[in-house]
Every structure is written in C-alpha cells, then in structure tokens.
C-alpha cells in the first residue's frame, strides 16, 4: 500500500532538462542543492588556500613571506569566506536537496524564490572578491569591529564590498529559511507529522528560525555601518558621539545564533548518520529534538560572552557566564544521546560513520573549551588568543566540517547514483583526523603561551616557533586530505560503484526513490506510520499504528512565508528602533533633536492616513471574499491612495528638514531618524508596489475564480508595515518629542 502524491499545481518545469543552461535556469530543488554544494566547494578551495597561506606565513617567527597588510586581508577573507560562502551554503545546499526528499515533497514551497536565493550566493561571493580589484580586500576581520571598520581606519572600499556582500548573502539566507519553513510546514507527505520529522529536517527547521531572526540583526548593523561609511554618519564613532560597543552588541546578537546556524544542521546530519550505521533508531528522539529548540532559544541570550574582555562589569559578566554555561546542557544531551544510539548497536564503520565518530570526540573538545570561555575570568585570559582559534575550529571544523564530510559520504550516492570510493574515503578520513588535530590542538598551547590571534608574525619566544610549525604541517596534511576528497568526488561521479536506491539500508524517505531521484522525486511515497517509514515497511508486524491523519497540515504556504518574513523584518526594525532610543536618550547638546525638529501633529495626520489604509485594505479583503469585485477594487484603490498620501507627507517632512539643514549626518538624532523612517518609507513603497500588482491582477480578473491568498499575504505585509509605523510614531514623535 502506498500513498500517491497529488501533482503540485504550480510546479514550474524546465523546458530543457540537460545542458549548461538548464542548470542556470533550473528551479529544481535538487539541482539548486547541487549548485549550492559545488559553488561552496569552489569557495572552500579559495578559503582553504587562504588558510594555507596564513599557516605558511606563521610557520616560523618573524617571517616575511607576505606583508602584514596582505595577511590581514587574507585572514579577513578566510573567516568571511568559510562562514558565509562555505559552511552556510553547504548546509543550505544539503537542506535544499534533502529536506523536500525527506518529507516526501516534490520540491520546495517556492521553487522560483529558491533559485533567486541561490543566485544571490555567487553574487555575494563575487562582490566580496571584487573588492580586491578596488584597492584591497576587506581587512577588518570577519566581525569588522568598529571603529577599525570605519572610514578613518579602513579607507579602502574593501569594507564597503564586505558589507554589500554580507547583505546580499543575508537576504539569500533569509529567503531560503522562509522557503524551508514553508516547505516543512506545508509540503509534508500524508502521515509525516511534525513529531515524526527526520532529525535533519527538524534541525534545519529550527535553524531556519534562527536565520530569520538573527540575520536581520546583522543586516541592521551593516546598514548602519554603511551609512557611517558612505554618508559620514557616526553610529559607531565615539569621537563624534557614536558608540563603539553598540556594534559589538548588535554583531554578537547575530553572531552567537550564527554559531548554532552553522552547528544545528550538522547535528541533524549526525542524528541521521549514527542511527543508520549503528542499525538502531536514535536514542531519545524527543529529547534530541527538544534540546535543539533549547539551544536555539538560549543562543539569543549569550552574546556578551564574546565581550567579556570589554569590561562590562561583573553583574553582566556573571549573567552571561550563567547563560553560556546553560547552553552546554542541551548540547551535552545530544552527545550522550548519540553515544547511547551507538551503544548496543551493530556499527558499520563506513567513511561516513568514521567522520561522524570523529565529529563526536572533536566536537566535545570544542564544546569543553567553550565552557572555559563561558567562565568569564578564564575568558579574560585566553580570549583573542590562539586558544580561541583552536576552540572555534574544533567546533566549526572538527564539528561542523566533519559532519559535512560525513554527510557527503552518506548522501553522495543519492545525489549521483554512485558510491564514493571507501578506499579513498578512508585515506581522506585518516589524513583529515591527523591533520586537523595536529593543526588545531597545539593552538590551545599557543594561546596559554600568550600568542594573540590575528597577528601576521610573532617574536621568537620559547615554544612559539615549534608549535606553530607543527600547526602548519598539520594544515598541509589537511590540504592534501582535501585534495583526496575532491579527487574522490570527481573520480566516483563517473566511475564509482552503482549505489542503488538505498545503499546504506537507511530508513528515511529520500531512500525510497531512485538514486538520483527523478525530476518529481517520487512516483509514490510509502505510507508513513512513524519516524522511519522504510524500517516500518520492512517490519510490517511492527506497524501497529494506524495511518494517522495529518492533523497539522492546514497551513497556507503564502501565509507561512509572509508571517516568517514579517518576523524577520520585525528583527530588523527592532534594532533600528533600539538604536534610535539609545542615541536619543543622551544626545550631545547643540544639534537638532526630535522635540525641536519634528511636528507631531502634522505627522499624526499622515499616521491616521496610514492606519486607515489598513482598514480599507481589510474591507477590500472582505469584499473579495464575498466576491464583490467592484467594492474590493475600490477599497484597494483607497488603500493605495492613502499609502501614497502618507509617503507624500513623509517626503514633505524630509524636505522641511533638509531646508533647515538637518540631514542624515547632522548628528545622531538626524542619523537615527532618517535611518529608521527612511527604511520604513522604503517598506511602505515596496508595499505600494505589491498592492499595485495585486490591483492590476484583480482588474485583469485573476481572482474571480481563485483564492484570495495573494491579497491576504500582501495585506498581512501591509498591516505589518502600519504596525511598525505606529511604534515608530510613538518612539520618534510622541516619546522623544516630550
């Protein structure tokens, strides 16, 4: 017995299915997934080469292989590349390929948006690297601390390109996350309840929420830095009244969740691989799933452990010590559950399982050194030293990258139809384990010897030269191991052993179709009684559960997308509003202020226009539901007119301010005011364009026989923009004008 999937109505199909252009124009999630992975592999080659150059320079003390300036550009590019162009896109690539397959869907919820998200990725990578042709790559480090990243100290355009690249990549990540959430909520096969999701899907789902909430915080900070650099404003320049630490608070509010954005999907991969090769179901599915949520929630409350060296005071330090320690508990739970899964199993040490096993030990080392960083006084010694370099490479390479390599050996047969060579795989594995640990374990010692990170060279102090040389030799072994890996991929894709549908005898839905899967993924999806559909299929007597009806599948994908988008945008505006409140609470005397520059009554009038436009839009929706098309169109036109009036009011207000000489860089009131209201105005404008499109399609008769879904989704966005304005009006005009 099986459940046939109904064909998706709107699934775009390529005219051509082969040739280079079929890849460029593809909207197939599998091809997009492969494009992500190959592009990330390309950037991994770049980032890895950068790492090798850094290690060669550091091999000996007082080395002058490359200049200080070159070294600083290269380590900045290495960090940025590995995080934004390698780890995140690789995780997204696997998510793109396997989430729809693992939930028995034919594609992502929004295939065209999926293609757009992908193409933003090479664009971002291009922008970042183009900087090298404009006078120098960025050199302020991957966290671009102000004021070093400000124009007076980074005068080339490298940092500007860095900002643009990260913004572009961030927009791509958010749209992918929205797509994944909508896919997982709305496209699961019958019977695949949320509580039965494969753990990789579950952790990708949780990660997607981290992305939509964390990335906008970074985007807001990046926009402020760009305004500082391009428009001579002073958000982060202390000499002009700005605040240097605000950048750090914003950056790490993004930055720590970002760590889990890079770790959680890797946990998901491990949670798939260990059970399959141990021949046992995951031990304690519920706790593994729940601890993921705990990590995600806690990750927003630990950012200042990156700032212990700032001297925030003991109260703050102890708070963040406690919260950072707390996050170790759900992480530890996962480790023990994985070990318990192996316990009593019948473990097949394929290359995938070897990498997963090494992941366990290496990730634990990274996690334990993480605990030493949670202890504020220890952090006061070893932060910004090589000890921290060792720590985060154990987490991100020994952890995440090892999980990615495990996932590659595990899933490559599904993607290509052929197995990767186990012989080369084992060579790759052992070289990688030896190389990785040789490179990074000794860096713990360098840290406690007092070697700071991000130095292009170092004096010849006792042991420094020897340990650095060991580290460099290890890096060389890692480089060779990576070549073996790449060779394995390119040899096996042509000549590897045929995989068959399910080479590992795994249990999740991606193995229920051919390798590689057909364009539409499945001809039919097996019935789903539990978490391991293919296991249930082999053990019919155990399938005691009735096929439960999917109670939780009534989401509308457009509404899911707009709600998650709104959540993401809320994060962006919250940061802009915080910046406004923060700077206007204590403005240096002399410059323009909210009280002295703004006309609350006049803006109140325009606010009324915007608020009533929400009402007219509501009437329009109701009218459309009742099929009263003339009324619907009239209310829609009224909405657009009210929106335009609001924008004209804002334009007039800006004109008045400009005439009085108040411009974006006058002072921090002006900067925060124009930034906040300007971005809101931009959103109103986008909303007006969207409403215009809806109007045009309504007039063209698109909605006569179809659902009102488009109007409802655009409407939700419009209401959101109005609500944001009410908050802005209160904060900027009512509160600050008192």
């Amino acid at each position: 017995m099986s459940v046939a999937l109904s064909p998706l109505e709107h699934r775009p199909v390529n005219a051509e299915e082969s040739g280079l252009f079929s890849w460029v124009g593809t909207v197939d999630h599998k091809r997009i997934g492969i494009l992500y992975l190959l592009t990330a592999l390309f950037f991994f080659a770049i980032g890895g080469t950068e790492a090798m150059i850094l290690r060669l320079q550091l091999a000996r003390p007082n080395s002058a292989l490359i200049s200080a300036e070159a070294y600083n550009q290269i380590f900045t590019m290495h960090g940025t590349t590995m995080i934004f162009l390698v780890v995140m896109p690789t995780l997204v690539g696997f998510g793109n390929y396997f989430v729809p397959l693992m939930i028995g869907a034919r594609d992502m919820a929004f295939p065209r948006m999926n293609a757009m998200s992908f193409w933003l990725f090479p664009l971002g990578g291009f922008l970042l690297h183009f900087s090298a042709l404009t006078g120098g790559a960025p050199s302020a480090g991957w966290f671009s601390y102000a004021p070093l990243s400000e124009t007076p100290f980074s005068s080339t355009q490298g940092t500007d390109y860095w900002i643009l690249a990260i913004l572009v990549l961030g927009i791509g990540s958010v749209s992918t996350a929205i797509n994944l959430i909508a896919t997982i909520l709305t496209l699961r096969a019958p019977g695949l309840l949320i509580t039965r999701l494969p753990l990789f899907v579950w952790m990708t789902f949780v990660t997607s929420f981290l992305i939509i909430l964390a990335i906008p915080v970074l985007n807001a900070a990046l926009v402020m830095l760009l305004i500082d650099r391009q428009l001579d404003a002073h958000f982060f320049l202390a000499s002009e009244g700005g605040n240097v630490l605000l950048w750090q608070h914003f950056f790490w509010t993004f930055g720590h969740p970002e760590v889990y954005i890079m770790a959680l999907p890797a946990f998901g991969m491990i949670s798939e691989i260990i059970p399959v090769f141990s021949r046992k179901a995951i031990f304690g599915y519920e706790l593994v799933a729940a601890s993921t949520v705990a990590i995600a929630v806690l990750s927003f409350g630990v950012w200042a452990h990156h700032m212990f060296a700032v001297g925030l005071g003991h109260t703050a330090d102890m708070f963040f010590t406690a919260s950072s320690m707390l996050i170790a508990v759900p992480t530890g739970i996962k480790i023990f559950n994985w070990i318990a899964t192996m316990w009593g199993g019948s473990i097949r040490f394929t290359t995938a399982m070897l990498f997963a096993t090494a992941f366990l030990v290496e990730f634990v080392i990274g996690g334990l050194s993480g605990i030493t960083f949670a202890v504020a006084p220890i952090d006061w010694q070893v932060t910004d030293s090589y000890y921290v370099v060792a720590h985060f490479h154990y987490v991100l390479f020994g952890g995440t990258a090892f999980a990615l390599m495990a996932a590659t050996y595990y899933w490559f047969p599904k993607m290509s139809g052929r197995l990767l060579s186990e012989r080369l795989g084992k060579v790759h594995f052992w070289m990688m384990v030896v190389g990785f640990n040789a490179t990074f374990f000794v860096q713990h010692f360098l840290g406690i010897l007092g070697m700071p990170r991000r130095v292009f060279t170092y004096p010849d102090l006792p042991y420094w030269g020897t340990l650095n040389m060991i580290s460099t030799v290890g890096a060389g072994i890692m480089g060779l191991a990576s070549l073996v890996f790449v060779a394995n991929i390119f040899l096996s894709i042509k000549r590897g052993a045929l995989a068959g549908d399910n080479p590992w005898e795994a249990w999740t839905l991606e193995w229920a179709t051919t390798s590689p899967p057909p364009h539409d993924n499945f001809t039919e999806v097996p019935p789903i009684y539990g978490r391991r559909p293919l296991w249930d299929l082999d053990h019919p007597s155990d399938s005691t559960h009735a096929l439960e009806p999917p109670k939780d599948m009534s989401f509308d994908k457009s509404m899911v997308a707009v709600w998650t988008f709104v959540a993401s945008e809320t994060g962006f505006f919250v940061i802009l509003i915080i910046a406004f409140i923060f700077f206007n609470a204590s403005l240096p005397a002399g410059g323009p202020t909210a009280a002295g520059s703004l006309d609350m009554k006049r803006t109140g009038l325009f606010t009324a226009c915007l608020v009533s436009s929400s009402l007219t839009l509501y009437f329009s929706e109701k009218a459309l539901e009742k099929r009263r098309h003339v009324a619907a169109v009239s209310w829609l036109v009224a909405t657009i007119v009210l929106g335009v009036v609001f924008m004209l009011g804002q334009a007039n207000e800006y004109r008045g301010l400009f005439e009085r000489g108040i411009v974006v860089n006058s002072n921090l009131f002006a900067t925060t005011f124009f930034t906040l209201t300007g971005f809101h105005g931009l959103h109103v404008t986008l909303g007006l364009i969207a409403l215009g499109v809806v109007l045009a399609r309504t007039l063209a008769g698109d909605f006569k026989n179809k659902s009102t879904s488009l109007l409802r989704s655009v409407g939700l966005y419009w209401h959101f923009v109005d609500v944001v304005w009410l908050v802005v009006f209160y904060v900027v005009y009512v509160r600050a004008s008192r």
């Binding site: 200049s67 200080a68 300036e69 600083n72 050199s139 601390y145 100290f153 202390a238 000499s239 240097v244 141990s278 021949r279 046992k280 179901a281 031990f283 304690g284 706790l287 060296a309 700032v310 001297g311 330090d317 102890m318 010590t321 320690m325 170790a328 508990v329 530890g332 739970i333 070990i339 318990a340 192996m342 316990w343 009593g344 199993g345 019948s346 473990i347 040490f349 096993t357 366990l360 030990v361 634990v364 334990l368 605990i371 030493t372 202890v375 504020a376 006084p377 220890i378 006061w380 010694q381 070893v382 932060t383 910004d384 406690i448 010897l449 007092g450 700071p452 130095v455 292009f456 004096p459």
Partner: protein, 309 residues
Amino acid sequence: MSMPPVFDPHSPEARAISVLFAQTLVVCAAIGLLVAVLVGYCVVRFRARPGDPAPAENPGNKRLEAVWTAVPLGILVLLFILTARTVGAADPPVDREPDLVVVGHQWWWEATYKEGAVTANEIHIPVGRKVLVRIESADVIHDFWVPQLARKIDAIPGHPGFIWMEADAPGPYVGTCAEYCGVEHAWMRILVIAEPQAEFDAWLAHESHPASALSSDEAAARGAKVFQEKTCINCHAVAGSAHDARVAPSLTHLAERKTLGAGVIGNTPADLAHWLRDPQGVKQGCHMPNLNLTDPEVNDLVTYLETLK
C-alpha cells in the same frame, strides 16, 4: 621547561584566574575523557561483525536522559559557584584614582604615571604593590594583555577600562595587544618591568625629568637640530624641549628603552639608524613616515637620540 604564562601567574589576580582555569580544565578533561572512553568502547565493542543479529531497539530511556541532563547541570552550577567566588579576586573593584593611564595607539602604548612621567611600550612597576591602571584608546579598540600579571582588558574609545596590576617578583613580563587593531597589530607588544620599590622610585623620579643636559657633542647638537627641522618634533615629545606633541611615543628617555616600534626591533644605535632610515621597512604601515634622511642626518639623529637617557 617553564609553565606557560597563563599558568605562571605573578600576581594574586592572575593566580586566582589560573587556579580557576586549572580547576575548570580538570572538570572538562574528566568529561572529555568519559566521552572518549564511551565512544572508544562503542567503537571496539559494538563494531558490526559478520552474522550479527539485528541489534535490539532502544528508543530511549527517560531516566538515563534525566541523569545526563541533571549531572552536567550540577557540574555547571559548581563551576558557576567557583566562578562567582573568583571574579572579585581576579578583577577587584576600582576604589581610587589610577596610578597609571595607558593609552593604546595604532600601534604602540603610551603610559602616563600620576607623577607625570610619560613613557611608551615599556612600563615599570614596583614589586609587590598594587598598581591601578586605567586603559584608554586614542583610535581603535586595542587590548592590554600581560598574562602573568592581570586579566586582559579592552582599550575602547569612549569606554575606559581598569585593571589592577601587580608583580610578586622582579622581572620583565611580556604582554601584547590582544584585540586586532589594524595592519601592525602583531607589533604592539608590551614589556612590564617590575623592580624593587627603591629602584622603581629612582626610575620614576628620573623619568619625570628631562634627559640629562645635552652633551656638548657637536653631532648631538646637529641631531637635535635635525629633530626640529625634519618635523620629528611634530609628533614626538621630548620633555624639556618646547614641543609636547603626543601623536607618537614620547622620546624623553628613548635611549633607555629595550625595543623600538613596540617590540619590532631592539634598540641599539644600529637598530635606531635602521629604523630612522626606513621605518616602513621595519614596521610596514606604521604611522612614522620615511623622512628620506641622509646618512649624515641619520648619524647625527642617532647620536642625539642616544643622549636621551
């Protein structure tokens, strides 16, 4: 083999941290070892062998899971208590005016004693006495880190930091800028010289006054003139002369320092000549320009600067 600096503390504050660090490492090592042993046992004991029956299913065990939730939590509570008890000792509260203000510059340190002496990169302190240091920045964020004597603390524009520094034995203690601060971050090293109170007092008194009167050496006099005319004086202060620029390190007692360029080279007359001829070659990107001095000018300048003791 000596202990690494973080575990070779020479002040009560640094000692408090190293004890806490050692305790934490023991706890972490025990956990790490446990995990390694468990994984290792699984690898050996549960490796698949031909003919193995399908393993027994075990979907979970709430009691076991409660154990590995509660026990780590308990250990962390213990670590938190240890931390809370150490924080005060490792970083005592500030209760008076600082003895010393250290300002981070790209890429050198300026140290001003409350008695008025100004020096750079090499900081003298008396053995066995607590010194309260205020840390500031003149440009970007730096970080003052001398691992054997105190915690590290960021030097942040607009946000001064404070540390207590103390050394229980005489000696040079090396430190460095620990926050990436631009092109020459690597060469922003610190040397703290702890000496007995009497020696320190003598040093401070000496340092608070201009260098002993210019020698009558003709070359030195020419060098002093070069110092004026070639605009050195626009950035560097020499106490006792008319100018008191604080853009670059004070050279009042330059000849007594051990290194140049915040640790990049030594401070012999030959080093100094090298530095004057080609500062960008010695420390690429530093703010000292190449003034294209002629060889005689360099020689005279070196002779002059060597008199600044």
